[in-house]
Symmetry: C2
Subunit: 477 residues, 2 copies
């Protein structure tokens, strides 16, 4: 075990958590942090701490950390700013591993002496032998340790995506989006102002963490810039690193200063440095999620020649034109099928209303299951095809197919793609999504099939990932 794992594993897998500011008033943020931990079944010991030792969420409380009988690994703090220094002295005495401050109003604010107070906190942590996460943050999210994301308490299944977020809000939105799109996290941390532990520390930890296979980050500033760039260069050789930088514009960068006290540098300089260091730079939450999903679907050896199938649920001519435009616009190839594939497909499908080339437009009428299976199999076996993109208008298909027919269609697609060992992704339009259609989407995702909302986002995701694996040269994304 290396040093950073030694130091941070007890923080991400605490045996016990104290919540300072949890009381009988359940509207308080501290009480909500505690309530969420209780609700999702955190297995370690939980200790509410408040001045009058009021019970909180059914648990006995303590007036101070020192009164807690057992050891405390992780402390969540949601009390006013003026009480934090004496609390840190208590933490040192108690021998905690890390303290996370939900409390805000430090370097990011205009409050007098706020920046100085933040430096003093970091200094007391150093002398006290523990670490600080924050202030002005949500802290640790670790599904395998049953630690939910902050007071709102979202928790998903454990996975292999590690994430570092300077913004608590974006971290939360990514967790939510992950619940919907089946992005499963090994762990995620919102670290706010980063007075002590910062993105360098957390990146080192996720690089060493055996549960983390893909690393993502939302950052507004990097205080140890050159160290971070060197680290990204090293880590990206072992695990893909996706970075979203906030505060790219002047207006955004001024806002970032008020958000997490960040002082950000020129975005173009930053983006060039990150790309040269082997990271994938993205510019929105959706791009971030789509890229992570792409990394889970497309391997380093996957080529860039996409077969595209349209016309499953509604005429697919226009969709086929669009798909060809956006995939080739992103630098991916929509290579013609070989003559053999074309003539075999032509013998199976009607000529009118369809387009029997790549993209293949089925023309809105789904062929009989055996025919569909044969067509998909021919497409996947084509020597000019590296991956398959299937557009399914799920709402429409559900109207025309009955019972499990749509599931059977999807199973056929999935089985064919597996037997040919070529990735399959689905494009399902975002509008008119009914509950049953969402269930089908979820089923596909659980089977490991990425579902994108549009050809644009699918092509963008695949192109970014292919470029990061060195399979696309030109910078068209």
């Amino acid at each position: 075990m290396n040093a950073i794992l030694d130091e941070l594993t007890p923080v991400f897998y605490p045996r016990s958590i104290a919540v300072v500011g949890a009381s009988s008033d359940e509207t308080k943020s501290g009480s909500q942090f505690l309530k969420a931990l209780v609700r999702v079944g955190y297995a370690g010991a939980l200790y509410p701490v408040n001045r009058s030792a009021e019970r909180s969420c059914g648990l006995p409380a303590f007036t101070s950390l020192q009164d807690i009988p057992g050891p405390v690994d992780y402390v969540i703090v949601a009390i006013p700013r003026n009480a934090v220094l004496s609390l840190l002295d208590d933490c040192a005495i108690k021998g905690v591993k890390a303290v996370q401050f939900f409390t805000a109003g430090f370097r990011e604010s205009n409050a007098p002496n706020a920046a100085q107070l933040e430096r003093e906190m970091a200094s007391r942590a150093r002398s006290g032998g523990f670490r600080i996460i924050g202030p002005n943050c949500i802290g640790i999210y670790n599904p395998s340790a049953r630690i939910p994301y902050g007071p709102l308490g979202e928790i998903g299944e454990p996975g292999s995506v590690g994430f570092i977020s300077q913004s608590g809000g974006h971290g939360g939105r990514l967790v939510e989006l992950g619940l919907e799109r089946r992005i499963n996290f090994s762990k995620l941390v919102s670290f706010g102002n980063g007075a002590d532990l910062d993105c360098v520390d957390f990146l080192e930890y996720l690089a060493a963490d055996p549960e983390t296979k893909i690393i993502g980050a939302y950052l507004e500033s990097v205080s140890r810039g050159s160290q971070f760039v060197h680290l990204v260069r090293r880590v990206s050789k072992q695990k893909p690193v996706v970075i979203w930088k906030g505060g790219r514009s002047e207006a955004g960068s001024e806002t970032a200063a008020s958000h997490t006290g960040a002082l950000s540098s020129s975005y173009s300089v930053w983006k060039a440095a990150m790309t040269q260091a082997g990271a994938i730079a993205v510019e929105s939450l959706d791009e971030l999620a789509d890229t992570i999903i792409g990394l889970e679907a497309i391997g380093p050896d996957t080529g860039v020649r996409a077969a595209i199938v349209c016309g499953m649920g509604g005429g697919g001519g226009g969709e086929s034109v669009l798909a060809a435009d956006v995939f080739s616009g992103r630098g991916l190839e929509v290579h013609p099928f070989s003559d053999g594939t074309r003539s075999e497909i032509a013998a199976l499908l009607p000529g009118a209303g369809t387009i029997l080339r790549n993209p293949l437009d089925l023309g809105g009428i789904l062929p009989r299951p055996q025919v569909l299976e044969r067509v998909i199999s021919l497409v996947l076996a084509d020597e000019n095809v590296d991956l398959l993109v299937v557009q399914e208008h799920l709402g429409k298909l559900m109207k025309s197919l009955v019972g499990d027919e749509l599931n059977a269609v999807n199973q056929t697609l999935i089985a064919s793609s597996r037997s040919k060992n070529k990735p399959l992704v689905v494009v399902a339009p975002a509008w008119a999504r009914t509950e049953p259609a969402l269930e089908i989407e979820d089923h596909l995702r659980r089977q490991g099939v990425p579902v994108y909302r549009s050809f644009e986002t699918a092509a963008g995701s695949i192109a970014r990932v292919a470029r990061s694996f060195g399979r696309l040269r030109s910078n068209t994304t």
Copy 2:
């Protein structure tokens, strides 16, 4: 009334429709066209036509057009290709106004003599004194005449957006998307191969149509290129014209040839010509819809200084940074509030956890109604603010607010924006959308408030519209 209105009004408002190919077999496309007309309550006479005079959808049928007792304005054709020429002769004798061919397999296919057959059809229509829509298309959609969109039968409320689509699929998706996002159409036409009536004719008609205020088009090719450009230049001075061109790439353009027999020119040349002619060029269905929605929200006199409010339902710091980045990245201004506004807001809202500037981050905790109303009113009254963008995490807000509280919040926003006469748009993230949240979105849309899925799409839409009104110069979108 001008010539094009004279000629095409009976086509868009037919007194009677014959459906050739509608029979007792309800799986046939012709039967489905007829069924959809019956279901939505088309008020004119409906006549199924098939060789054995089988009743269809409960209506008595005829073996030929000539047998129909009354006049026939509009003919929908869904029969095999080899029967179309003799049908056209029948149409001439019957004195119909227009024939729409769902039938495909003409110029867009590889079938022998298909292009020649298509030319012959156009020639027979000319000599017969009627017009052809298609072949290979869905035809007319006119909610005010209770004509639904083709066999699937979608129909929305009548509105003021006129749309021309070379693709039946994209036309259908736009109708669906319109149902969800409350884009209401005056009329829409899918015209496929455009053997006779083409985009020039339909653009002239929509320009003259008093019910149409905004014109959109999806085109893969324009056969009468210079005439179309001249027309766009003239029309865009009276009504905004938004154009999405398919077949931009080589691959897409080859696909377009197989889709609607289109021979498309270089996209960059096309885009420059369209932009110079005053049209707004877009490159996807979502961009198209967002732009139309923006045109309905933002007027020619609206400035480009956006006030942005975040943190309604979840911490809004990261969102504020993002919003500032994307709005300024699109050339819009995120201008600081005046000192007076800032100090008044600072007196109303807490300093910790919020960001009291533009973007304004409420910090995740909604202020009391009177305070919120006062804050919004201050922001809107600021001399540096032209429009208001409010980010609402509806799913989260619904968890923390009860009953009609969220509606009350939205009413407050809407009323404030109206009283200051400055546009308001809402950004509601697309994920985690529950049914009740979707109802709130729909309520907002019915009140005339555009709801976008992200800051990126909102900023893109507003910037494109502002540029088309000459309020943004640089070409950053």
